[in-house]
């Protein structure tokens, strides 16, 4: 996994100061306050519920916990989760 072609592309992008979401298809996660989460370059929804959502990305699943969660918008490129977001768990153990 550490030496996979994707990781190499990501590392090369970082070295060259290029945006990884464009060059390597890395997900772009944007949290606005605690009520709106936008994820670009997603791969779909793994689990869907008002208190827990799992959003699939190339890097792994993003876990969103909260209350009254709903999917405001979803298309091939982007999805937007709204509701009271308590925590966002990123892949590779990075907490939001």
């Amino acid at each position: 996994m550490a030496n996979s072609p994707r990781n190499l592309v990501i590392k090369a992008s970082e070295r060259l100061n290029l945006p990884a979401d464009v060059t390597a298809g890395v997900s772009r996660v944007e949290l606005t306050g605690s009520s709106r989460l936008s994820v670009e370059n997603h791969r779909g929804v793994g689990a869907f519920g008002p208190e827990f959502m799992e959003l699939l990305t190339a890097q792994g699943p993003i876990a969103v916990r909260g209350r009254g969660l709903s999917l405001l918008l979803m298309n091939q490129r982007e999805l937007v989760v709204v509701g009271q977001i308590d925590s966002v768990t990123l892949p590779q153990g990075q907490d939001g």
Partner: protein
């Protein structure tokens, strides 16, 4: 965006299955737009999609082993489909739109602004005589032509225009400022007595006083002269003075001993009329009371919009109280008091300045009439300006 949604039409759908989010993933991958996704229960999701994408949504649901059900349809197509099943409602809607479009071409309310002395009713009446009123077609109003005619008919107005850009026409006016009567301070004048009296005090501002307090003067008698002599020269002045004198006036009035007075019979009737612009429609007649022998109390209930704009639709209620007239003798004391009050009011209007000191009056029998005689004592300003006419041949004349 909402308008686009309305025009395209939307559908609220439920996706039921063991793993409904797979259907969402498939729809997203298939570039089917959807939004407002909420979970009903772990096996059922609810989402909004465009109506035109419903067949593709159904395919995505089937491929995801889910079931797609349409809960409700919204948008223009749904509304018009609903109206198609209700022809009366559709006809009403069409009529309402047509009425709104047609009514915009006409003036429905008229408002007068800028008038202070000239009543708005008078302006509106004159406008009505010129063919402009409630129900007039807006395109038929020519402000320039109307201005000329209005100013010609109403000399009290100095400027007039009408703004009929909407169903509410605004009439803007400016009243003519009357030029005040100017006193020429260089015109040689004398001050003479306007009526007979005993001078009490004089305040001479210019000229030579030829009368003095305590002197009795007759109407037209010179009080202050505009001619003064100084070192063999005669000077002309614009004499000015206030001369207060005690005056006495008498008056006599003949009044008939009887008069016709009305007595209410107790019969009343109510008439209701619907007022549409300048047209009236009688809804309910009164109870057969002759309109010549009744008092009418009219109340108008106008339809007014929340902004205060009065619409040309009103309900008019007229209550008629029938009465009969009969010859009744006049009450002496009441007649005497009324005549005294009227005489005092007339005196106060007649006097330039001053006050009434005493009024004595009597009422005497004169056959079929009452003879009312009054004597009034007052202190009033009797000085009045008279120009000095100068004859260039012989010198001057006062």
């Amino acid at each position: 965006m909402k308008l686009l949604e309305f025009l395209r039409g939307t559908a609220r759908v439920t996706i039921t299955g063991a793993y409904p989010q797979s259907c969402l993933n498939r729809m997203a991958a298939g570039q089917i737009p959807f939004w407002d996704v909420v979970q009903r229960d772990p096996l059922c999701l609810e989402a909004t999609v465009y109506r035109s994408t419903l067949p593709r949504c159904g395919q995505a649901a089937r491929r995801s082993m889910c079931q797609l059900e349409v809960q409700s349809l919204r948008g223009a197509r749904a509304v018009f489909y609903g109206l198609k099943r209700r022809p009366v409602l559709l006809a009403g809607l069409v009529l309402a739109v047509a009425a709104a479009l047609i009514s915009q071409q006409y003036v429905w309310t008229l408002e007068v602004q800028g008038n202070e002395m000239v009543p708005a009713e008078q302006i509106l009446r004159t406008l009505s005589e010129l063919g402009v009123g409630v129900g007039t077609r807006r395109s038929g109003i020519d402000p320039q032509r109307l201005e000329n005619r209005m100013l010609d008919r109403m000399p009290a107005l100095g400027w007039f225009t009408i703004n009929a850009n909407s169903m509410r026409a605004v009439v803007l006016v400016k009243e003519r400022i009357v030029k005040p009567e100017l006193v020429n301070p260089h015109q040689p004048t004398n001050v003479v007595a306007s009526q007979a009296g005993l001078i009490e005090r004089m305040e001479v501002y210019d000229g030579q006083a030829v009368a003095e307090p305590g002197q009795m003067v007759l109407p037209g008698q010179l009080l202050v002269s505009g001619l003064t002599t100084s070192f063999r020269a005669t000077l002309l002045h614009h004499a000015m003075a206030e001369v207060y004198a005690r005056t006495w006036r008498t008056a006599e009035v003949l009044c008939a001993k009887t008069c016709r007075e009305k007595t209410y019979t107790g019969r009343t009737g109510t008439t209701w009329r619907l007022v549409l612009g300048n047209k009236f429609m009688k809804i309910c007649e009164n109870g057969g009371i002759s309109p010549d022998e009744c008092d009418k109390i009219m109340t108008t209930y106008a339809l007014t919009l929340p902004g205060g704009i009065r619409l040309p639709i009103a309900l008019e209620k007229t209550v008629c109280r029938a009465y009969e007239t009969a010859e009744q003798p006049r009450d002496e004391a009441q007649l005497q008091q009324q005549l005294a009050q009227d005489y005092l009011a007339a005196l106060r209007r007649e006097m330039e300045a001053g006050q009434v000191r005493a009024l004595s009056h009597t009422l005497k029998d004169a056959g079929a009439y009452w003879r009312w005689s009054a004597t009034c004592e007052a202190t009033e300003q009797i000085g009045t300006l008279v120009p000095i006419l100068i004859d260039t041949k012989d010198g001057e004349h006062g």
